[in-house]
């Protein structure tokens, strides 16, 4: 079923934070009305402040608000929105939700439930990809229950191998097996875990690729079997299996390899008649071979690096496809220009194993200038709630070359400030100063191999430290927190003299 010429004059954005803000901005630029939804703790969140309309959808826990499809569909009906953009996370890859949206006569700005289902099951995705000529990691395409069969496969493809739950994800339901004697126990355990966690104990065997790079390709599909690619992103800087820095182009691809991997991504999207914006993820082995990993059937956190390098607007492209206008770009018009890096700004403490932090944003300044884009979900004075992902904003920096983009990133990160929560801006400064990052050789093992939580913050120079101490004493001398605004104009000399006298008296 294709959507042709659907009227979309108002869209509900079923998300929060920076991505909801980004989508609302894009919709406004298309002249489309915007509806935000919010949980009780998000009444003052930035996405609410940006939207034309806003509807409360329940208590703080996502399971009672942002994850409740019925409430979101009811909010769309109440406001007369004709379409729903799910953003990423929450309900974005939930086939039942997308079906319910369409059953309610609304447009779901994303792929069909069928596409989500194929890609949500790793075994079905593997089979589909192999049939379409897209390389997958060597291994089985069918569930394995017999350890002997698993051992036979492992010997064929070579150890170490990975036992993987077909319904797994997020690092769960996986086990590395180094030799045949481990196989029986590992298989039993993985099946048990998968059954308990995902209600599906189908397990398959694939080769374990050591220290791969994570390369992904942005695609747009028209839902009728045609797709284009918008080149690659590299996302190998990860901590806790989560990306923190992404870049485009990838420093690891030759033009030939780029052409191959992008073509494979287009085949992937075309194989499932993909509709809308999606991302095909690959792992790139040290020997230059690449394998299909999975497809994310939604707008990706790191979409801005593609937008800056290719000069496109992915939110607009998604809305136009959903309207039935097809793909607004032609493959032959697209080219990469320059280099972009995205730095995810998390409320987390790198020194404490990246533990999340919450609090009130007391100060927030991200330096501007040429080639800098900030997608933020927070503002000075905002209380970061405990209930959601700790990503606050994304800083995206563009430069003519990778070196120039890195130099610009360094300047911007050094000039930027966030007070009130622990955060990872200094982690980014650390990362882009590492030789393995600078030369582009970094893999997904980068953080684990190079980051020492006990020794990573740079020393301040002697002069900078002295200036800091001077400022701190003057700040303290100008009064405590409550009278700080008044003190900004002039130090409260009278009060201070009195204290000084008292202090002196005490000293004598």
């Amino acid at each position: 079923m294709t959507a042709t010429g659907k009227t979309i004059t108002k869209v509900l954005v079923a998300n929060r934070g920076e991505i909801a803000v980004r989508i609302i901005q894009g919709l406004k630029e298309m002249g489309i009305g915007t509806v935000a939804v919010y949980s009780d703790v998000d009444r003052e969140a930035l996405h609410v402040l940006c939207a034309d309309e806003a509807v409360p959808i329940g208590p703080a826990p996502a399971s009672e608000s942002y994850l409740v499809g019925e409430k979101i569909i009811a909010a769309a009906r109440k406001t007369g929105a004709q379409a729903i953009h799910p953003g990423y996370g929450f309900l974005s890859e939930n086939g039942a939700f997308s079906e319910a949206v369409e059953a309610a006569g609304l447009v779901f700005i994303g792929p069909t439930a069928e596409s989500m289902a194929v890609m949500g099951d790793k075994l079905s995705a593997r089979r589909k990809m192999r049939a379409s000529g897209v390389p997958v990691v060597p291994g089985t395409d069918e569930a394995v229950t017999d350890p002997e069969r698993a051992i036979a496969i492992a010997e064929e493809i070579g150890y170490p191998v990975l036992l993987k739950a077909s319904a797994g994800g997020g690092g769960k339901g996986m086990r590395i097996v180094h030799e045949g004697t481990e196989m029986a126990a590992a298989l039993r355990e993985t099946m048990g875990e998968a059954g308990a966690s995902f209600g599906n104990d189908a397990i398959f065997v694939e080769k374990y690729i050591t220290d791969p790079k994570h390369i992904e390709v942005q695609v747009l599909g028209d839902g009728q079997g045609r797709a284009i690619h918008l080149f690659e992103r590299e996302c190998s800087v990860q901590r806790r299996h989560q990306k923190v820095i992404e870049e485009s182009p990838s420093p690891s691809l030759t033009p030939e390899l780029r052409a191959e991997i992008c073509a494979a991504a287009v085949r992937t999207a075309e194989a499932i008649s993909y509709r809308g914006a999606g991302t095909v993820e690959f792992i790139l082995a040290p020997d230059g071979s690449f394998y299909f990993l999975e497809m994310n059937t939604r707008l990706q956190v790191e979409h801005p690096v593609t937008e800056m390098v290719v000069g496109v607007d992915l939110v607009r492209a998604m809305v136009e496809i959903a309207r039935g206008g097809g793909i607004i770009y032609r493959q032959e018009d697209l080219a990469q220009r320059g280099w972009a890096l995205e730095f995810r700004l998390y409320a987390e403490d790198p020194s404490r194993n990246f533990a999340p932090s919450i609090g009130r944003i007391e100060a927030l300044h991200i330096a501007g200038g040429p080639g800098v884009r900030l997608d933020t979900g927070v503002y000075e004075g905002f209380e970061v709630p405990i209930h959601y992902d700790p990503m606050l904003a994304k800083l995206i920096v563009w430069g003519e070359t990778r070196d120039l983009a890195l130099a610009r990133a360094r300047r911007v990160l050094r000039e930027s400030v966030l007070h009130g929560v622990a955060h990872n801006l200094p982690f980014h400064l650390w990362a882009i100063a590492q030789p393995a990052f600078i030369d582009g050789s970094y893999t997904t093992a980068f953080v684990g191999e190079h980051f020492d939580a006990a020794d990573w913050l740079p020393e301040l120079s002697g002069r900078a430290r002295e200036a800091l101490l001077e400022a701190a004493v003057l700040e303290a001398a100008s009064g405590d927190r409550n009278d700080a605004p008044a003190a900004a104009a002039a130090p409260r000399a009278g009060n201070w003299h009195l204290n000084a006298l008292r202090a002196m008296t005490r000293n004598t």
Binding site: E348, R352, F354, A355, P356, S357, I358, G359, E362, A363, H365, I386, H387, Y388, D389, P390, L413, R414, E415, V417, L418, H419, G420, H423, L425, P426, L429, L457, L460, R463, A464, R465, E466, A467, L468, L469, E470, A471, A472, V473, L474, E475, A476, A477, S478, D480, R481, A484, P485, A488, A493, W496, H497, N499, A500, L501, R502, A503, M504, N507
Partner: protein
């Protein structure tokens, strides 16, 4: 007339004494046992930062004040936590800390108590994990602040806690 006031700064666990002298002429600051130096510093960016000059060199110090003399600074992208108190307040705070003895382990962020790893009466040493609090789906293991004996655990597993809530109270070990 020039008057001097003494401040105690704590930066990266290091304590520094600073004497600020004010009155006729420019303010002057003497750090630790160094020489006094005239200051050329102004509050800028609507009060959120200090512009500090030393000769031609310029430094922009972003500074946010909290309670009890706590401050967060950012210098060239590097965050620094520090405490600055005038001498009298520093003395008062030290007295309070002495009475407490560091034995009260309190939540620093709101979260859910996931696991209590100790029992009342149990001996613990400084840094030993005693309780796990989950915030934003991440588990944070909190360690004892001092060597001692667990006196009281005012929370239970599954309980939501706010910053400042006491989690585990430890009696200092006898010296």
């Amino acid at each position: 007339m020039r008057l001097t006031k003494r401040f105690i700064l704590t930066v990266d666990d290091q304590e520094i004494t600073a004497d600020l002298t004010r009155g006729d002429g420019p303010d002057s600051l003497r750090l630790a046992d160094g020489e006094g130096r005239d200051l050329d510093a102004r509050r800028v960016l609507g009060g959120k930062a200090w512009s500090v000059r030393s000769g031609n060199r310029h430094h922009l110090i972003h500074l946010t004040s909290g309670d009890h003399g706590k401050m967060t600074a950012t210098v060239d992208g590097r965050p620094v936590a520090l405490t600055v108190l005038d001498e009298m307040r520093a003395l008062a705070m030290a007295e309070m800390a002495e009475q407490d003895g560091g034995g009260v382990l309190a939540a620093d962020i709101p979260g859910l108590v996931i696991e209590i790893k100790v029992e009342p009466g149990q001996c613990v040493s400084r840094g030993e994990p005693v309780i796990v609090v989950e915030a934003m789906k991440m588990q944070n293991e909190l360690g004892a602040g001092i060597d001692g004996v667990v006196a009281e655990i005012p929370v239970s597993e599954g309980q939501a806690v706010n910053p400042g809530d006491a989690l585990v109270i430890i009696e200092p070990a006898a010296e």
